[in-house]
């Protein structure tokens, strides 16, 4: 199994480290030709406008969509979640639009309002998950076919799954806890 991490901008190195801890081969993806031999893709946190522009400029978008339509699993964290969304509140920016979710960017506020918090996510087991939110987005609404894996205060949707796509508002790559990555690796395993 080989998982690619989109390496246009943002915290891609941390995702590669996390995948290595899961004993999975991980490679950086900067060009569309590199997408050919991967079984899954992670779109990291960073600035979604920057990542979107570079994705268009270097023709990665169409190829990612084609692979996703053939079942390649994708995990998007923070900016990656924004890239996966069909709708982004108040924004026309480029997105892949693979998930039926309405995302609000910088939804908790600016950096001053960024925070860390322990979450109970049953899909990851009983142990609480320390989640770091950096100028994070959250999901305002989803279609019924989207499975909600975690809500903050029973209201703000921050972790979802739809088909082979997984999206999180927070940054599992910034902590030592690799359970989100392990969850994604299991998803990829099922498609091989």
């Amino acid at each position: 199994m080989k998982i690619g991490v989109l390496a246009l901008q943002g915290a891609f190195r941390e995702h590669i480290e996390a995948l290595k801890k899961c004993k999975v081969e991980a490679i950086e993806i900067k060009k569309s030709s590199q997408l050919d031999d991967i079984d899954g893709l992670i779109i990291p946190g960073g600035e979604s406008t920057t990542i979107g522009l570079l994705m268009q400029q270097f023709n990665l978008g169409d190829k990612i969509l084609e692979k996703a339509n053939h079942g390649m699993p994708i995990l998007g964290t923070c900016a990656g979640m924004v890239m996966l969304a069909k709708d982004i509140v108040d924004s026309e920016q480029f997105r892949l639009g693979l998930m039926d979710i309405i995302v609000r960017r910088n939804a908790f506020g600016r950096q001053r309002e960024s925070f860390e918090r322990s979450l109970n996510i049953s899909a990851l087991g009983d142990e609480p998950f320390k989640a770091i939110f950096i100028r994070a987005p959250y999901i305002e609404a989803t279609s019924p076919n989207v499975e909600v894996l975690c809500k903050l205060d029973n209201e703000k949707i921050i972790f979802v799954k739809q088909g082979n796509c997984l999206a999180a508002s927070f940054h599992p790559e910034l902590t030592e806890d690799i359970r989100v990555h392990q969850y994604f690796v299991r998803l990829v395993n099922k498609t091989i």
């Binding site: 920057t50 400029q57 001053r112």
Partner: protein, 293 residues
């Protein structure tokens, strides 16, 4: 829920990696920067080249300018406070800027001490010329560092020198036997705890960007190949002939820094670069990099 933790402060810097942070002085410039792919902007009243030309005392920008820039874009907005001017920093935190640059580009407000950055919720970035300076700033609470370079010159030589200095000292530190670390800390003027940490991990504890003199896509790629995490472009964009095109090219170069073919392609027809200054022609007392202690 906890805000302003070390993980949260450092976290934003991690998200900026592989990106370009651009100096802007108006909301229009901020839009151009965002549309060109900047991962953040630095809101200023004047770019360093103009500060250098104007002389006199350079201070924090007018809050109105910073707020208008914050309104204009969705990407993070940074702003500069004078070295040691903790009240300017308090004002910037109150405005809600995403990162504060305690910067040698402005005239220092304190000739002995830097801001106690640990007291703030908002994260700080500081410049450095060597490892001791980097670790002193981190000890004071900076969650991100950058080379100082020589701002407003369009001349990359000082940024290269500062990065190589930090990296060289880092490699030496890693190879020292443990009993020599205290003396190394004394000689560098760096906190012992951080010296021990760097010795153990072999890397800086925070993200390190290049700044001060970057004017072309090749400059950005040079710094990335040397090993920085991302780049600041100050005067280099809006003092050039075609800012939007140059900005896009520098963004692409920062991503594809290892691919000479792409670098050649994006370096074509960028128009006039900013006029550069030879470092030897700057009087010692006018060198911004010597500010900071």
């Amino acid at each position: 829920m906890s805000q302003g933790t070390w993980a949260v402060k450092k976290g934003l810097a991690e998200m900026l990696k592989g990106g370009v942070i651009m100096d802007v002085t108006t909301p229009e410039q901020a839009k151009i920067a965002e549309e060109a792919g900047a991962c953040a902007v630095m809101a200023l009243e004047r770019v360093p080249a103009d500060i250098r030309a104007a002389g006199g005392v350079a201070r924090m920008a007018d809050p109105t300018i910073i707020l208008r820039i914050m309104d204009a874009v969705t990407i993070p907005v940074m702003a500069k406070a004078r070295i040691g001017h903790f009240v300017e920093a308090q004002i910037l935190e109150g405005l809600g800027v995403d990162y504060i640059d305690e910067s040698e580009v402005l005239t220092p407000a304190d000739d002995l001490f830097h801001i106690n950055k640990n007291l703030f919720t908002v994260p700080f970035i500081c410049g450095c010329r060597n490892l001791g300076e980097a670790l002193r700033r981190i000890g004071e609470g900076a969650a991100m560092i950058r080379t100082k370079g020589e701002p407003g010159t369009g001349n990359i030589v000082e940024a290269v020198k500062h990065f190589r200095q930090v990296n060289g000292e880092l490699k030496r530190l890693v190879n020292l036997p443990e009993e020599e670390l205290m003396t190394a800390a004394k000689d560098m003027g760096a906190p012992y705890e951080l010296v021990k940490e760097v010795h153990k991990t072999g890397k800086l504890p925070v993200v390190n960007f290049a700044a001060g003199g970057i004017a072309t896509p090749a400059d950005a790629a040079l710094m990335m190949q040397l090993g920085v995490d991302g780049v600041f472009v100050g005067s280099g964009i809006f003092k050039s002939g075609d800012p939007a095109k140059r900005a896009r090219a520098i963004v692409a170069a920062t991503t594809h820094y290892n691919d000479p073919q792409i670098l050649a392609e994006i370096s074509k027809d960028l128009g006039e670069a900013m006029v550069g200054i030879e470092i030897h022609n700057i009087k010692t007392e006018e060198r911004m990099q010597d500010r900071g202690w």
